[in-house]
């Protein structure tokens, strides 16, 4: 069982863990940093405002006495705050009164409106705070302080570094932890997948997946999987057993069938040979009696002997028909293309040739072809058309039709005649062996023809049935 270390599920789980913890950490860091930045900005503004107020208060006297020099002295104290870029005291009319510049090149706004007092403004990486100077409840002037944001930026950098370090450390810890927990999930799954692969590849139902310790869904899953394997194994065994038994039974039956067939064949052979021999004696010696002892017999005696001979010959024909029927049931079927129309035409021509004096009208559908055993199909058609021919013998004009119709979507062949027909009440007896619906004196026959037809058709997987009425003709249908 080769274990795939880098299975997709392991990768997926790791990726998922990292993404989830990374996203959570990023959100947390971003929130903290944003909150702190806002607080810090407010603190800066508040600080500057205080400084502005202090500078303002200290400059009131100078403003009142119009001593700009003293005011500038006051402002220069701002040097202690390294972030203050510039500062200025403005008179109430907005004119600059005193100025402080860290860098002498720094420009101060030449005019600050009293409207701008008590505001702060972030502009070009600087923050500008403007405050009014109040003396004895009256506005006296305006103080302006501009500070850079270096402390803010430094703070931001610090935060960024801390966030990055925290993020990296957390992710690394998460990775370590997840690899520990992940194993408890992926290992059983990977193992299960491997076992399933072995089962489906080798059809080996004896293997089992190892259950992990503890009771969770995974352990239930593996337990169920193993139970399923047990059931499959049992069923597979039962199936194999059944198959073996079936094969054995088929062998037995085939053997029995072969034996039965052999027995039947030897029986048929005996019937054919041994049963006919005494008949031949009865007939032959009856004839000999008629010829040699005719003077000793009266008319009745001769009539009796004639009856004996007729019966004997009839039995001979019956034995032959019976044997033919048995032989046909056993005969192997050799399927080939058969032109049914030509076959029907050939048979009707033969029938007409035997009794050329009869008036007959044959209607045979053209172009009918099928796959069947040519010999057997010919025998079936000979019987059906022969019957039609026989049972129309008392008509001035025999009308015999062969064609096809569709019955419930299946094509059926039919042989229709205008002959003696039959009583539909007995139609189920038509196809029975040695069953006859007409007296032999009326129409000759042994009652094997239609039984033969039925066997031939059923051996082709088809069906045969008949419709008719007394003296209204008959129609025989068959499918193949």
């Amino acid at each position: 069982m080769a274990r795939t270390q880098d299975s997709t599920i392991t990768k997926k789980l790791t990726r998922m863990n990292m993404l989830v913890s990374g996203a959570a950490l990023l959100m947390a860091c971003a929130t903290f940093v944003t909150y702190d930045l806002f607080t810090f900005r407010e603190a800066i503004v508040r600080n500057l405002s205080i400084q502005a107020r202090v500078a303002g208060s200290n400059s009131v006297t100078a403003l009142v006495f119009n001593d700009s020099h003293a005011a500038e002295n006051t402002l220069s104290a701002l040097k202690a705050a390294p972030n203050i870029v510039s500062a200025g005291i403005y008179s109430l009319d907005g004119q600059i009164f005193a100025a402080y510049r860290r860098d002498p090149n720094t420009q101060l706004p030449p005019f600050v409106s009293a409207d701008q007092a008590e505001t702060h403004l972030f502009k070009d990486g600087n923050v500008i705070v403007t405050n009014s100077i109040v003396f004895q409840g009256k506005p006296t002037g305006i103080v302006y302080i501009r500070s850079d944001l270096r402390t803010l930026n430094a703070q931001l950098r610090r935060y960024a570094i801390i966030a990055a370090v925290v993020l990296a450390a957390s992710l690394w810890t998460a990775l370590l932890l997840s690899s520990v927990f992940r194993r408890s999930i992926t290992e059983p799954i990977v193992h299960l997948a491997e076992v399933a692969r072995v089962v489906s590849r080798d059809k080996n139902y004896t293997v089992r997946a190892t259950r992990p310790t503890g009771r969770d869904e995974l352990s239930t899953l593996i337990e169920s999987f193993n139970e399923m394997l047990v059931q499959i194994q049992e069923r597979d065994g039962a199936l194999q057993n059944a198959r073996d038994q079936l094969e054995q039974r088929v062998d037995e039956r085939t053997f029995q069938l072969a034996a039965a067939n052999k027995e039947l064949e030897s029986f048929s052979y005996s019937v054919s040979h041994d049963l006919r021999a005494p008949l031949r004696s009865i007939d032959g010696f009856s004839q000999a009696l008629l010829e040699d002892c005719t003077a000793l017999l009266n008319d009745d005696g001769r009539a009796h002997l004639h009856r004996i001979r007729t019966a004997t010959q009839r039995m001979g024909v019956m034995i032959d028909d019976f044997l033919n029927l048995a032989r046909m049931t056993r005969a192997e079927i050799h399927i080939a293309r058969v032109n049914v129309s030509s076959l029907a035409r050939l048979i009707t021509c033969e029938l007409q040739n035997v009794e050329p004096q009869r008036q007959a009208e044959f209607r045979i559908e053209e172009g009918l072809e099928t796959s069947a055993d040519p010999r057997l199909l010919r025998l079936a058609l000979e019987n059906l058309l022969g019957n039609a021919w026989k049972f129309t013998s008392k008509r001035a004009l025999s009308k015999i039709e062969f064609g096809t119709i569709h019955v419930n979507g299946t094509m059926a062949y039919f042989v229709r005649d205008n002959g003696a027909g039959f009583d539909p009440a007995y139609s189920d007896k038509l196809f029975g062996t040695f069953q006859r619906l007409h007296a032999a004196t009326e129409f000759p026959g042994t009652g094997v023809g239609l039984a033969t037809v039925q066997r031939i058709i059923s051996r082709h997987g088809g069906r045969v049935w008949a419709e008719g009425a007394v003296e209204k003709g008959a129609t025989f249908y068959f499918t193949l």
């Binding site: 048929s268 052979y269 054919s272 040979h273 041994d274 006919r276 021999a277 005494p278 008949l279 031949r280 004696s281 007939d283 032959g284 010696f285 009856s286 004839q287 000999a288 001979r309 004997t312 010959q313 039995m315 001979g316 032959d320 044997l323 032989r327």
Partner: protein, 147 residues
């Protein structure tokens, strides 16, 4: 034709009587030698056993051979006849009740010259005997090499 005779291999005395009668009715007066089983038929033809010393140069004009026979059946007889130079070309007509396809295939396969089925109807039997006699005793020229 006086010296030509028929060998009838037939175990059923009724059939034998009827065959002889049918031949006679057709004015076939040739001698009919009857063998009751396959072994007897071979003994007769090869001059062995009970027929030791028979002049085997005298062969029947035709052998009428039944298939179902005691001891050795008709096909066995035929096989032995065809395997022996003396009787390899001897005309053999299988005359039997059987109409089994397999019998016909085997009969012709072993070299029978003809296969005739005995009809139940005696009139037909007589007609068949007439044709057989006419053909094999009159029309058919026997193979050369006979005395």
């Amino acid at each position: 034709m006086g010296d030509s005779f028929i060998l009838l291999v037939e175990d059923n005395p009724d059939d034998e009587a009827l065959t002889v009668r049918a031949l006679k009715k057709n004015k076939i007066v040739n001698e009919v030698v009857v063998a009751r089983d396959g072994v007897q038929a071979l003994d007769y033809l090869f001059g062995e056993g009970a027929y030791a010393g028979r002049d085997t140069k005298e062969m029947p004009q035709v052998v009428l051979l039944d298939l179902k026979l005691p001891k050795l059946d008709g096909l066995g007889v035929l096989r032995r006849l065809r395997a022996d130079d003396r009787t390899r070309l001897l005309p053999v007509v299988i005359l039997t009740s059987s109409n089994e396809e397999q019998d016909r295939i085997n009969g012709y396969g072993l070299g029978a010259n003809s296969y005739v089925r005995k009809p139940v109807d005696f009139d037909q039997f007589v007609a068949a005997a007439a044709q057989l006699g006419l053909y094999w005793l009159v029309l058919n020229e026997p193979p050369p090499g006979r005395a």
